[in-house]
C-alpha cells in the first residue's frame, strides 16, 4: 500500500526536465591579438606569435585592438544586444602556466554588449521536417583574452607551454538557462556559428577551438526552483554538445530519483564513452580577486559619427551606425528569402544556409537555367550534396561547377536527354570534370531518341517478343504495360521519353 501511495505521489508530480544554459567562447577573427600586435594564426610553430606583452614581460602595457571591439559590436548587433557606450576592463586573477600575467583581462563589471536574443530553429516530428523556432536570451557579450596552451608530458613529467594563443581576442557569450535539451542547445550553437561566420567575426570551428562551448546543466520539476547545476566542458563538436547535455540530464535525473544529490562541479565530456566525468576541480574554491584594469581607460563606442566628441578622430573610434550599415544578410533572413523567392521547402532552406557556399551554388544554378528552382533544389540537395557528403568534400571542392550543372539540367529540361540519363551523366561529370556535358552525352551516345520511326521499331520489337504480356494487357491488366516500358528503357539505356513510349505501346497493344 505504501508503495502504491508513493507511486501515486510520484506520478502526480510533474516530470523532471532539464535546464541548459551555455557559455560560449568565440575566438575573434582578426589579424592581431586583443591587446598586442602579434598575429593570430592556427597551427603556427609554437611560440612564434608571441609579443613582449603576450609573454607578460614586465613594463609592457595592453593596447586595445579596435578590430576586436568592432567584431564584438557587430556580433552584439546581430544578436539584438544593447551595446554599452561605455564598458570597462577588469583583471581576473589565477595562477596557470598558460596565463603568463597571472591574470586575464576580461569585462566582469560592464561588458561591451548586454540583453540580446538568439533566435534558432530545430526540427521535430516523425520525419524531422517540422520546423520549430525558439529563442534564448543572451545575458552579455564580453571581450577577454584567450590563454596559451599547456602540453603535459607525463613521461618526462614536464609541461610545455605554447603562448601563440595567449592574448587572442575572445568574445564570451553567456546564454541564459532557457533550453531544455541537447538538441535545442545544439541548434542554438549551430545558428550562432552561422551568424558569426556570416559576420566574419569568428570562424566558429569547434574542432579547431575557435568556438568553445561549456554547458551549465541542471534538472528540476517545472514550477520549482532550479536544481544544482554542473558545468560540462571539453566538448568539441555540436553533435557532442547535444550528446553531453542529454547524458548529463539523464545522469542527474537518475541521481535524484535514487535519492542522491547533484554536486555543483565541473565535468568533462568523454567523447569515446559519451559520458561526463568529474574533473579535478579547484574552481569551486577559487576567488578570482577581480580588480579594475588600471592600464586601460574605459572603452567608449559612439552611436554615430556626429556623437564623436571634438578632438577625437572618428576614424580611430568605434561607431555603431557605421557597423550597423555593414551588417550582412543574416542566416534567418537568408532562409526566409530563399523560401519566398524560390518557393522551396523550409527544410531545404536550412540545408542551403547550413552548408558553406551551398546557397551561392544554388542561386548560381537557378540563374543560369530555365528550370524551376524547385527542380534545381532536388539536384543540389540530392545529387550534389549526396556526392559531396559521401566523399567528405566541401561545396567549394565540388568537381561540377554551378554552370556545368545548369547545362545538364537544361538538356534534361529541353528533352535532349531523359531525366534518368541526366542522373547518369551527372555521375560521369563527377568522375571526369574536364569534359563538357555535351562531350559525355555524345561519347556515351545518350541523346534522347526522338525519331518517331525508330521508336516505333523498338516498341514493335518489344511487343513482338512479349506475346504473353501483351495478352494480359489486352485482357485488361494495364499495369503490365509498365513492364514493357521498362523493357524499352533497358533496350535504349533510358534514352526515351516515357510519355511518348507509353503512347506508342498503348496503341500497339490495343
Amino acid at each position: 500500500i505504501y508503495l502504491f501511495i508513493a507511486w501515486a505521489l510520484l506520478s502526480s508530480l510533474p516530470q523532471m526536465v532539464g535546464v541548459v544554459g551555455l557559455e560560449v567562447h568565440a575566438q575573434i577573427q582578426s589579424t592581431s591579438k586583443l591587446f598586442s600586435g602579434s598575429h593570430v594564426r592556427f597551427l603556427a610553430p609554437p611560440n612564434s606569435l608571441v609579443s613582449h606583452f603576450d609573454a607578460s614581460l614586465p613594463g609592457t602595457l595592453p593596447v586595445l585592438n579596435r578590430r576586436c571591439v568592432e567584431a564584438a559590436v557587430l556580433t552584439g548587433l546581430a544578436l539584438n544586444c544593447t551595446i554599452n557606450r561605455k564598458s570597462l576592463f577588469d583583471r581576473k586573477h589565477y595562477f596557470y602556466a598558460d596565463m603568463p600575467a597571472g591574470y586575464q583581462i576580461t569585462q566582469q563589471r560592464v561588458p561591451i554588449a548586454v540583453n540580446g536574443m538568439l533566435v534558432y530553429s530545430h526540427f521535430e516530428g516523425r520525419r524531422r521536417n517540422q520546423v520549430v523556432t525558439k529563442s534564448v536570451k543572451i545575458k552579455q557579450i564580453q571581450l577577454e583574452q584567450d590563454s596559451g596552451k599547456s602540453l603535459h608530458d607525463d613521461e618526462q613529467s614536464q609541461t610545455l607551454i605554447d603562448l601563440n594563443r595567449a592574448g587572442v581576442g575572445l568574445m564570451e557569450l553567456v546564454m541564459e538557462p532557457e533550453m531544455c535539451c541537447g538538441e535545442e542547445a545544439a541548434a542554438a550553437v549551430r545558428e550562432l556559428q552561422l551568424i558569426l561566420q556570416a559576420l566574419g567575426t569568428c570562424q566558429a570551428n569547434m574542432a579547431e577551438g575557435q568556438l568553445r562551448v561549456d554547458a551549465n546543466v541542471s534538472v528540476h520539476r517545472p514550477g520549482e526552483p532550479l536544481g544544482v547545476r554542473t558545468e560540462v566542458k571539453n566538448i568539441n563538436s555540436v553533435r557532442h554538445l547535444a550528446k553531453a547535455i542529454d547524458y548529463e540530464i539523464q545522469r542527474q535525473m537518475e541521481v535524484l530519483q535514487s535519492a542522491g544529490k547533484v554536486l555543483n562541479e565541473t565535468r568533462a565530456f568523454d567523447s569515446k564513452s559519451g559520458n561526463t566525468i568529474p574533473m579535478r576541480d579547484k574552481e569551486g574554491l577559487q576567488d578570482y580577486r577581480f580588480m579594475p584594469e588600471p592600464n586601460l581607460p574605459p572603452l567608449f563606442v559612439y552611436k554615430s559619427e556626429a556623437s564623436v566628441p571634438a578632438g577625437v578622430d572618428p576614424a580611430q573610434v568605434v561607431v555603431i551606425d557605421r557597423l550597423s550599415a555593414q551588417l550582412p544578410e543574416l542566416p534567418s533572413v537568408k532562409r526566409t528569402r530563399l523560401v519566398e523567392t524560390y518557393g522551396i521547402l523550409q527544410e531545404h532552406s536550412f540545408t542551403l544556409v547550413n552548408e558553406d557556399g551551398l546557397m551561392d551554388y544554388f542561386e548560381n544554378v537557378v540563374q543560369t537555367t530555365k528550370a524551376e528552382p524547385r527542380k534545381v533544389i532536388g539536384w543540389v540537395i540530392k545529387e550534389l550534396m549526396g556526392n559531396l557528403n559521401s566523399q567528405n568534400l566541401k561545396v567549394s571542392q565540388s568537381p561540377i561547377s554551378p554552370c556545368a550543372l545548369a547545362e545538364l539540367i537544361n538538356l534534361a529540361e529541353s528533352g535532349h536527354i531523359s531525366s534518368s540519363t541526366a542522373k547518369q551523366v551527372f555521375q560521369e561529370m563527377w568522375k571526369a570534370p574536364e569534359k563538357t556535358v555535351g562531350q559525355i552525352v555524345k561519347e556515351q551516345d545518350l541523346w534522347m531518341i526522338n525519331d518517331k520511326e525508330e521508336l516505333q521499331k523498338i516498341c514493335r520489337r518489344i511487343v513482338d517478343s512479349h506475346p504473353e504480356e501483351v495478352q494480359i494487357i489486352r485482357r485488361g491488366n494495364k499495369k503490365v504495360l509498365n513492364k514493357l516500358m521498362g523493357e524499352v528503357q533497358r533496350e535504349t539505356k533510358g534514352r526515351t521519353d516515357p510519355v511518348q513510349v507509353r503512347a506508342i505501346l498503348e496503341k500497339m497493344v490495343s
Binding site: L57, G59, F290, L296
Partner: protein, 534 residues
C-alpha cells in the same frame, strides 16, 4: 683640511654645471661628450661607496658619447641633451642592459626593449651611464630595502656633515630617501646631469628632497609608463631629477606626450622652448594647506616652509591658507590601493617566462611558491599578501571600493582648492631632513612609508604634477626641500613658479669631502661592504 674641495677641481667644476651650461660647453668645444662621459663614470666610481648604481654601462656609454661628438663636431647636435650623461632607475627597461628592480626575482634579467622615456632620451643623444639602485620593486621610502643594499646620501659625505660627526663615515651616514634613491644620489653626487626616477607615492620627490636635487613628478599620463616596471599603475609616473628647474623643464618637454604603447597617456599641452625669463610672481596665488602642519614636522623644515611662504608674499604673490580635509586618510587608502595593484602586478613573476626560478619543481604550484618566496623580499611579499586579502570577494567592498571612494574625495579636495583660484600649493616635501640609516631602520618599511609619504602621496592619488626644490641645508648639513603642487597638465606653470622659487632660495652646491679622504673613505667602505657581503 688641506685637500682641495671637489667643486674646485676642474672635473668637478664641469660636472657640477647644469644641463643648459654643459650643453653650451659641448657646443663651444670646451669639453667633448666622451670627456664628459668619462668624467661621469669616474665620478660614479669615485663615489662608489654611495651604492647609487647597480649597473654601470661604461662601454655603451662611451660609444654613445662618441656618436654625440661626431654630431656636435659637424654642427648637427640632436638637441639640448645631445652628449649629456644620464642615469636611469633600475625599474625602467633598457634594451640589452640588465634591469633588476633591485630584486632577486629579476637578477640578471635583460629586457629586449627600452622604456619609452629612456628611448626618447637616447633618441636625443643623451648618454646612458648607468642604472641606479632602489628599494626592491620601488617599494620603500628610504632606499634601504633592495637586494643590492642601502644607498647613502651624498650630503652625509660633505665636509659640513663629516665635521659634525664623531663617528666613522661607514656607520654614520644618512639615507638617500626612496625609492629612487640611486637616481637622486647620482644627480646630487655629480655623476649624472639628469636621472629618471619613478614616483608612485613620492618615490622621486622624497629622495630628490633628501638629496637636494630638483625632482619633478609630472601629471599622470603626461609621460609614458611603457617599460616602467609597475608598482601602482594608476599612480606611477616617471620622475625627472636634475640640478635645476630649468633643466627639469628641458627634459619634461622632451619626454612628455602621447605614446601609443601606453593607453593612459594624453596629448601634451603645447609648451614654449624654455621657461619664461621674466615672469610676474604677483599674478600667482599660493595655497598653504593647513593639514600639512603634520605631527613630526621638524623645526628646520617648518622654518623653511615659513621662510619661502614669506618670500612669495614679499614678492607680491597672494599667499593663502587652504584646507584639504581628506588628506589625513590618504596614506591608509594608498596602502590598500597600492597593495591591491602590487598583488596583481607581481602575479606575473612566476619563474616561467623570465627571472628567478626555484630549483624545486615537484609540481608547478610548488615551483611558483618557492620561486616567489625566494625571489621577493619581505616587503614585497607582505604587500602581495595584504593586496590579495583586500581583493577577496568578501573584502573587496570594505577595502578596495572604500579606498577608491576616498581617493575620489581627496582628488575633489585638491580640485576645489584650485577651482577657488589657487595656482600652486606650497608644502614641505618630507617631515625633516634625511634620517641616519641606523635610526631609519628601527622601524619597518610599512611604518616608514606611511610616515615619509605623507606630504607627497595625495598628489599621486589625484594625478597632479608636483615638484620639489631644495631650499637650504639643515643644521646637520642635509638638504631641506619644499614641494609645489600644480593643477592637472599645468606642469609648465608649476615649473615656472618653481623656477622663481629656486632663484630666490640660493641653495648651495654640494662640496663632497676632500679628495684624499674621499678615496680613503671609498676604500674603507668597499672593504667593509665586502666583509659584510661575504
Amino acid at each position: 683640511m688641506s685637500a682641495p674641495s671637489a667643486a674646485f677641481r676642474p672635473a668637478a667644476a664641469m660636472l657640477s654645471l647644469s644641463i643648459r651650461e654643459v650643453s653650451q660647453a659641448l657646443r663651444d668645444g670646451r669639453v667633448s661628450a666622451t670627456e664628459l662621459c668619462r668624467k661621469c663614470i669616474d665620478q660614479i666610481q669615485r663615489t662608489h661607496y654611495l651604492n647609487a648604481f647597480i649597473t654601470i654601462t661604461g662601454e655603451t656609454a662611451m660609444e654613445q658619447a662618441q656618436r654625440a661628438d661626431n654630431r656636435i663636431r659637424t654642427g648637427k647636435p640632436l638637441g639640448p641633451l645631445d652628449g649629456i650623461p644620464f642615469s636611469v632607475k633600475d625599474n625602467f627597461c633598457t634594451e640589452n642592459i640588465k634591469t633588476t628592480c633591485a630584486s632577486k626575482m629579476l637578477k640578471g634579467y635583460v629586457p629586449p626593449f627600452s622604456a619609452t622615456v629612456v628611448q626618447k632620451l637616447l633618441d636625443q643623444g643623451a648618454v646612458l651611464v648607468g642604472k641606479t639602485n632602489l628599494d626592491e620593486f620601488a617599494m620603500g621610502a628610504g632606499s634601504t630595502d633592495g637586494v643590492f643594499g642601502p644607498i647613502r646620501n651624498p650630503w652625509s659625505y660633505t665636509t659640513l656633515y663629516r665635521e659634525q660627526s664623531t663617528e666613522d663615515p661607514d656607520s654614520d651616514w644618512a639615507i638617500s630617501g626612496g625609492s629612487s634613491g640611486g637616481s637622486a644620489a647620482a644627480v646630487a653626487a655629480l655623476s649624472s646631469f639628469l636621472a629618471l626616477g619613478s614616483d608612485t607615492g613620492g618615490s622621486t620627490r622624497n629622495p630628490g628632497s633628501l638629496c637636494g636635487v630638483v625632482a619633478l613628478k609630472p601629471t599622470y599620463g603626461l609621460l609614458s609608463r611603457h617599460g616602467l616596471i609597475p608598482l601602482v599603475n594608476s599612480m606611477d609616473v616617471p620622475g625627472i631629477m636634475t640640478r635645476s628647474v630649468h633643466d627639469a623643464a628641458t627634459v619634461l618637454r622632451i619626454l612628455q606626450g602621447r605614446d601609443e604603447r601606453d593607453s593612459t597617456t594624453v596629448q601634451a599641452p603645447s609648451t614654449p622652448p624654455s621657461l619664461p625669463e621674466h615672469f610676474d610672481i604677483r599674478d600667482i596665488c599660493v595655497g598653504i594647506p593647513k593639514e600639512y602642519h603634520a605631527p613630526g614636522l621638524s623645526t628646520d623644515t617648518l622654518a623653511q616652509w615659513s621662510r619661502v611662504a614669506a618670500m612669495f608674499e614679499q614678492a607680491g604673490a597672494r599667499v593663502q591658507e587652504v584646507s584639504l580635509p581628506h588628506t589625513q586618510h590618504s596614506i591608509v587608502c594608498y596602502h590598500v590601493l597600492c597593495c591591491c595593484e602590487v598583488a596583481s602586478n607581481m602575479a606575473r613573476f612566476d619563474g616561467l617566462e623570465y627571472g628567478h626560478r626555484s630549483t624545486i619543481d615537484s609540481s608547478t604550484d610548488a615551483m611558483y611558491a618557492t620561486t616567489r618566496h625566494e625571489g621577493f623580499n619581505n616587503v614585497v611579499r607582505r604587500r602581495i599578501l595584504s593586496g590579495n586579502y583586500f581583493l577577496l570577494k568578501s573584502n573587496y567592498e570594505r577595502y578596495f571600493v572604500k579606498a577608491q571612494q576616498m581617493r575620489r574625495l581627496i582628488t575633489e579636495d585638491l580640485k576645489n582648492v584650485f577651482r577657488s583660484g589657487i595656482d600652486v600649493l606650497l608644502t614641505p616635501t618630507t617631515l625633516s631632513d634625511a634620517a641616519r640609516y641606523t635610526d631609519f631602520i628601527q622601524e619597518d618599511n610599512r611604518t616608514r612609508s606611511a610616515q615619509e609619504d605623507v606630504f607627497t602621496q595625495p598628489v599621486n592619488m589625484a594625478g597632479l604634477p608636483a615638484v620639489t626644490v631644495p631650499t637650504a641645508l639643515s643644521r646637520r648639513g642635509l638638504p631641506i626641500s619644499l614641494q609645489l603642487i600644480g593643477q592637472t597638465l599645468q606642469d609648465w606653470k608649476l615649473l615656472t613658479v618653481a623656477h622663481w622659487m629656486e632663484q630666490q632660495v640660493n641653495f648651495p652646491m654640494i662640496h663632497l669631502h676632500g679628495d684624499s679622504d674621499e678615496r680613503k673613505l671609498d676604500r674603507l667602505v668597499r672593504e667593509r661592504t665586502h666583509t659584510i657581503g661575504s
